[in-house]
Symmetry: C2
Subunit: 333 residues, 2 copies
Amino acid sequence: MTGDTITAVQYGIGPIGQRVVEVAAERGIEFVGAIDIDPEKVGEDLGTVADLSESLGVTVTDDPDEALGPDPDVVFHTTISAIDSIGRQVEAAVAAGADVVSTTEELAYPWYHHPDAAADLDELANEHGATVLGTGINPGFAMDTFPAVLTAPCQTVDSVAVTRVQDAGVRRGPLQAKVGAGLSVERWEREIATKAGHVGLPESIAMLAGALGWELDDIEASIEPVVAETPVETGHASVASGEAAGIHQVGTGIVGGEPAIELDLRMYVGAESPRDRVRISGTPDLEVTVDGGFHGDVTTPAVVVNAVPRVLEAEAGLATMIDLPTPRYTHLR
Amino acid sequence: MTGDTITAVQYGIGPIGQRVVEVAAERGIEFVGAIDIDPEKVGEDLGTVADLSESLGVTVTDDPDEALGPDPDVVFHTTISAIDSIGRQVEAAVAAGADVVSTTEELAYPWYHHPDAAADLDELANEHGATVLGTGINPGFAMDTFPAVLTAPCQTVDSVAVTRVQDAGVRRGPLQAKVGAGLSVERWEREIATKAGHVGLPESIAMLAGALGWELDDIEASIEPVVAETPVETGHASVASGEAAGIHQVGTGIVGGEPAIELDLRMYVGAESPRDRVRISGTPDLEVTVDGGFHGDVTTPAVVVNAVPRVLEAEAGLATMIDLPTPRYTHLR
């Protein structure tokens, strides 16, 4: 830190990275470097690329070593979803001694699906005294950390069911494209279903099982289109009746031969009653509803920036939202 | 621990202590001692005193040293609300090297109202390598930890309002007496209002402010009766129209001259729509509702027992629910 100021490097300045920059800068975090491979962004000021009203005095580069030169306290890593593809990016940050908060979905809980990559990253982080955390609203909070917290008042827990309904129509354009809004069902099956839609349900299931101390037999996953019953127009997509409005994904965690965790995610344009709802069967039963749901584009950068104080104070290694102290907003200045 | 089994001593076997024993025993925690000053309980088996169907092979004593002799991993401390009065009880447990989970309301966050007692206890716990945690459903979760967690997805937080409405009619008898159900309003004002009703709202406000990094100017508190509009009969109390049905307490935390935290607690017999509701004003606004609310008598022992694994792994000292890793149910065997 520069005095009391936390210094940061932004690694990846897409729609989520832009918002992380905005929220972090607003909270008094000082950017000292920025990395992106897009030639249109390289050479520009980070404030400009992040669509802020002011310059941040930091020039975007495609050279990680250059950006990481000032030894930032933390690197915000917001590039892609797959842990196998981001190894060198996070490694470079860790090797520079920086803590890392990443929105790479598979990093939120890599211990189940990618145990070797997780162990390697944990070892590297330990070597360099760095902490690495994968988080965001989902995976990272809505369908894993949040329901885990809601089991704290339970004497017994038989099963956990989470329903997340997001109106993709109020989300960013790439998200609407990601869920296939406006495609024919046939094309949706070909282009969206095979790409597995939202990445992170299996990670959330594994994180939740790990949090509760449950051993998973298996994780099952399904994906199908939500078909529009009436036409929907958003600023980004035009959906006719009978076309795909978005995705409906269900992930199920099997414990002791029974479906013990069920995560039901629907992201589609024109969604009615968007919400997050957690139902716990146990002693007592609980039903908890977040009216309107946690808006993904608003809340992901918040979860990321709010994790910073805990990541900076944590022991070295690959952390999860469950290991760290109680997640929360923290006033930074 | 005996092998993998966590060993415990129960300190105080009133209505809450009984339930802690039941939940802990059910979860495989092995009791090795039990303390109570009630002559009717001393000499009896803990299982009998806790109303379990089986003996636990542990005889209740009024001698803390005797009960703590077997060096338990953890002491469940469930006696009284005031930190000034429980010093020696918790000190004895800490001196025996045990970690302590206590339902003493003022221990949930003593740093604001009792900073000297908190510092002394922290020092003693550090000396003996012990961790001390005050928790329960309220204070400890419903009106502090839970709303704190709900700020994790917020870019900014302007204010937090929590409403907790409990139907005292389904709670334990002493709780119904504590809220003054069935007293005339005049007698309620004399006997209940002056005893301040539920203990813990100021602690919850201070904990929440501490969690968010807010500096409190002041804490304001009010208490008034809920007056029955129709007669209510419970197994423990008989309330006529116009008599007190219970309490309505409001605690307000002032930050920067503004009411930033408002905790509104109503516990009365015949309550309609019992619930816990958290409203956050910020970016984004959030409204989260727990249908029916967290039932105090069921959830307090759960919060206490669920804290054990984190308390056992924590560094020595006086901990809070906010410092420890994400609270949750954890399967113990």
